[in-house]
């Protein structure tokens, strides 16, 4: 719960540069849809297998990409503990994201669930070894700039 609250705060209130810090050095972050996930289609809208790739996502948003100013408000639900795999906890958590555009428009942007592998570090800190952000719907309005 604390991990997710902090995760949402990093994306919604910034700085976005904190986002990669929630992941282990070697990790998997994928943003996809429920249909792709169910059909075994591996591709993601965003796909990163290292913390450095996550950092590149953020630096690209800062320096490379063109998009209208926007921010998110995440509402992250209660985590469901599902089991253990390779020394990490399997956790499933629902999310809802409202997107707030530059002109003040607020829209429900995405709902879905995180399928996580959460790994406890030596100092007790919890990090994401894997986070699959699986959106319930398949249509994305205009573009997806910020991570979910």
């Amino acid at each position: 719960v604390a991990l997710n609250a902090d995760y949402a705060s990093a994306i919604d209130d910034g700085p976005l540069e904190r986002w990669p810090d929630f992941f282990t050095e070697s990790c998997l972050y994928k943003l996809t849809t429920a249909e792709n996930h169910a059909r075994g289609f591996e591709a993601g809208l965003m796909y990163a297998d290292s913390r450095a790739m996550l950092a590149d996502r953020i630096s690209a948003l800062r320096e490379a990409n063109i998009y209208e100013r926007q921010r998110y408000r995440h509402l992250i639900g209660l985590p469901l503990l599902k089991g253990e795999r390779d020394g990490a906890r399997e956790v499933e958590t629902p999310f809802l994201v409202v997107r707030i555009m530059r002109d003040g428009r607020m829209d429900l942007f995405a709902t879905g669930r995180y399928l996580d592998l959460v790994e406890a570090q030596a100092d007790g800190k919890l990090l994401l070894r894997e986070r699959l952000a699986i959106c319930d719907g398949a249509r994305f309005d205009t573009l997806v700039a910020l991570p979910i």
Binding site: T33, E35, Y47, R139, F140, A145
Partner: protein, 425 residues
């Protein structure tokens, strides 16, 4: 006075009123495009009949989507709902997804497997070729009710499309005048389709992007080789495609379809053209994990990027090892649905699969490159809100629409308008 007997149901509406598009000024060159063409409601309605249902090939689905007898998918030709289905003999049929009775969708799911189709509303049934077969209670109950008028089932059945298959792609056309797809594309563009679709394909994912702009603004963006390395920093900075690299544009004989390509060009490394003009896409930006840019030459030639458009709304894209198809569907004057299919080949190694997964970060709604194409059409749609009578200037590389050996040109954009104006006039 006796009433005249009812006309048989089969009688088609003769000379149905056509929505007339707004005429283009006769003297307007191909290098000028009036902004009302993205805004005018009558023009938008006319496009459905003249472009999408006109003498053109529309992408329907992949053969791989419907491998077995009875497999079907639902899609659209412009705004017309269409069922594509694999028949018993292995042939692929396509017909309008509209019941002959009250106009309901015959199939309302994305796809599945069917022995026949039955409209859910009043149980009228159709075979896999779209022939109207059965009318529930056609003879009524105990001699009462039922159809009293003669019904010519063949004449009122759903409209059927001609189907063409091309290297695993399935296209459909509503017109008898559409030439065979090989002639429609011409040898240059056809060769470029076959170059990419070299082996059986494997779908890796599907995403839909809703664009806040007229469909033509997106298609023009795809055909616009001039913008790619000016808008997209990833292209310019990482030298994936730059105007100073080798390359060119093939345009099909009718203008509507194109294939642009970028070749490796060592001389580009010393070019200062972007820096000298202060263009933002040549920057010091670097990736911390450059494995994203780790491309291999899988096609045995020196082409790094190939973007291919088939009129009116299909795109086949190769950016390094990132392969995708895009289907452009109009939903309203200023709403466009863009359906992405990311793919690889069935014989990809695990390394190639991983490479594609990483490079797919470049495209799609969240693509390091493509996200910008998602918003720029909306910027134009908003920018021209009060400029209905003004025109855009599409004059890079002249005012004609032939193949050119440079990408600092808008020749394939003019090709689109050449084909479009012929359909609409």
């Amino acid at each position: 006075m006796a009433e005249s007997p009812p006309a048989p149901l089969a009688a088609p509406l003769a000379n149905a009123p056509q929505h007339l598009p707004r005429p283009w000024p006769d003297d307007m060159p191909l290098s000028r495009v009036p902004y009302w063409v993205y805004q005018d409601a009558a023009n938008y309605r006319a496009e459905q009949a003249r472009v999408f249902e006109g003498p053109n090939w529309n992408f329907l689905c992949l053969e791989a989507d419907i491998p077995n007898r009875g497999d079907y998918r639902t899609t659209h030709v412009g705004q017309m709902p269409v069922i594509v289905v694999r028949a018993a003999d292995g042939q692929i049929n396509a017909f309008e997804n509209r019941c002959s009775h009250r106009g309901s969708l015959i199939a309302f799911d994305d796809g599945g497997n069917a022995k026949f189709f039955k409209c859910i509303y009043h149980a009228w049934s159709y075979d896999l070729a779209g022939n109207l077969q059965g009318i529930a209670f056609e003879r009524g109950v105990d001699g009462a009710g039922g159809m009293r008028e003669p019904v010519d089932k063949a004449a009122i059945g759903p409209r059927k499309l001609r189907v063409a298959r091309l290297n695993g792609l399935v296209f459909g056309t509503c017109s008898g005048a559409t030439p065979p797809i090989e002639d429609y594309l011409g040898p240059d563009v056809l060769g470029r389709v076959r170059r990419v679709l070299k082996a059986p394909i494997r779908v890796m994912g599907r995403f839909t992007q809703m664009l806040p702009n007229n469909w033509k603004l997106y298609v023009e963006n795809v055909k616009d080789t001039y913008h790619a390395s000016l808008l997209h920093l990833f292209f310019g900075t990482f030298r994936i495609t730059r105007l100073t690299q080798g390359g060119g544009v093939f345009v099909s004989p009718d203008g509507g379809s194109h294939a642009s390509y970028t070749t490796d060009n060592a001389r580009d490394d010393s070019s200062t053209a972007y820096r000298d003009q202060g263009i933002r896409t040549e920057s010091q930006y670097r990736l911390r994990d450059p494995s994203l840019l780790d491309a291999v030459n899988e096609f045995g030639d020196d082409i790094r990027v190939q973007i291919l458009g088939i009129f009116p709304g299909f795109i086949l894209q190769q950016i390094s090892n990132c392969l995708a198809m895009r289907q452009v569907l109009p939903k309203a004057i200023d709403q466009t649905e863009l359906n992405w299919t990311y793919f690889g080949f069935t014989d990809d190694t695990p390394e190639m699969n991983r490479r594609r997964l990483k490079q797919q970060n470049l495209v799609g709604p969240a693509g390091f490159v493509s996200m910008e194409d998602g918003c720029v059409g909306g910027f134009v749609q908003r920018g021209i809100a009060a400029a209905e009578e003004k025109v855009s200037v599409v004059a890079m590389g002249g005012s004609t629409a032939e193949s050119q050996v440079t990408r600092a040109t808008e020749t394939s954009v003019r090709g689109f308008w050449k084909a479009y104006r012929r359909c609409m006039s």
